[in-house]
Amino acid sequence: MIGTIPTMIVALGALVALNVPIAIALGVIAVVAIWVTQGAYMLPNLALVMFEGATSFPLLAIPMFILAGAIMNSSSITQRLMDLAVAMVGFIRGGLAHVNIVQSMFFAEISGSAVADVAATGPIIMPAMIKRGYSREFTAAVTSSSASLAIIIPPSIPMILYGVIGNVSIVQLFVAGIIPGILGGLGMMAISYYLARKLGWPVEDRFRLDRLWETFKASSWALLLPVIILGGIFGGFVTATEGAALAVLAALFVGGVIHRDLDLAHLYRSAVDGAIQTAVVMLLIATSALLGVYLTEQQIPQRIAEGMMSITSNPYAILAILNVFLLILGLFLHSAAAIILVVPIVLPLVIAAGIDPVHFGIIVTLNLAIGQQTPPVASVLIATCAIAKADIWEVTKVNTWFIGVLLAVLLLVTYVPPVSMGLVDYFYR
């Protein structure tokens, strides 16, 4: 029965090459497999499984975190956080590059979507950087790479997906992402500082405590958002899903009641975009549930795990193989599709090799963050280049510096587990 796997992979590849949406390609493969192996009388299950596949309570967090990001963009919250970032790090050489990174890290604590980060901050910070003499390519590279911190620093939509699909604690995944996310941000700032000194880029203003205090006061409500959301989730007061609802409520309160500058027309458009993004991911989940029925029935993930374990049972060797596999996959697949396709198949292997599934979740997320930066399929990079009007391949040349940072963090997280698991072990085990 394991011989059917190559046939399924070839058929899936052919459908995807025809530009059939990946979600539907998965569904078609599953329907044919079920029909051939179990008979046509099983087909009514198709509707039930696809309905059940889209009713997972923890996945409700996805539309709500998307909506929270949209509300932030529809009010002055994003601008206020940017002003604070200027006051905090604008005095360092290469100031606006640091502002860009710090701003992305602030945004990451509320939203969880890298594309949302680019859409929010890109049109504001990139023209400012280009005007101050930074090259268009560097500007796009630093904006794109720092935006990917949004999926590493909690909350994170790919982590929610991984948690639900792999039946892994989403809260522990969030906690495990904190240190790698901060390390990634600091690494990118170090690279920016090095390049700024080498190329003579400017500082923005000297450090002024009064300005820092002023911008801190102006953004204090916005800063309260991550404290409430992440504090609520980590403290066990709310689940990740409820934390997402809290994020929406808090962003609406701050934007609509405190700052009173919510742009309702923009909010409506963002809600439509959010609904579409949610539906696209959820349809993938629903059709993969269909494929999951077949894979589970045939015990295919377990067979792959056994096959792999007979070659090597060394967890570090397995992680190295999986890292290479995920990096290659990231070149061609969107992060949600990669998680949905890969996690159910490789997780039994990961568990059999004695690797903590939370640890592996952060490894997967880091690989996908790199995948967002590596063309040809690189959503965040391409969106950034379109906004900056920069050439994708020229930007990629500069971006190798930042991709290098993400790779270094990936290696550190892979081979020094306490980097991601230290906080999890301290708080939850």
């Binding site: 459908l15 995807v16 530009n19 059939v20 949406p21 696809m50 997972s56 409820e242 929406v248 539906a279």
Partner: protein, 189 residues
Amino acid sequence: MQQFRQIYDRFLEVIAVFLMTLVTVIVTLGFMFRWAGSSLVWYDEIASIALAWLTYFGAALAALRGSHLGFAGFVNSLPAQWRVAATITASGINIAFFGLLALMGAKVMQAIAGLTLVSLPWLDQLWVTAVIPVASVLFIISELLRLPAIIEEARRGPLMDAELKEALGGHADEVAAAARAEAFRERTP
């Protein structure tokens, strides 16, 4: 036809935003009542069902706007007539899949008529699962409405990757025009 497409787009858009709002309100009410010490027994079941509705109505809207994740790279490397043939084939596969789903959904509805939800015993599951056949038909309508435009796009130049469209949001049309101009320049000696 164009006017009908716009009205249809608006119709799906309003439903999607309504469901997005509904999901948020239900979950928010759920944890507020839990904090107040009187948990709503129905909230997680109904919120999950609302998510399924959002998924399928949103999927029909995403189909109309060509936002489902795919990979256009191979098709874009083909000559124009093959691009058009591949586009029509892909669309046919999408329609066939959702046609089957609509039929199976209708069968399931008949089979489960009379069963009710666990948390709301007065609500027949028939109405809950109706989303599958109804939204499948809407998906097919979306696919058919989009077909003339996507065939024209395939004939004129490279198709824009759905992922890129999602990533770009408001910038999508601008980039599509630039890509077409680029393809035109490449073909022009």
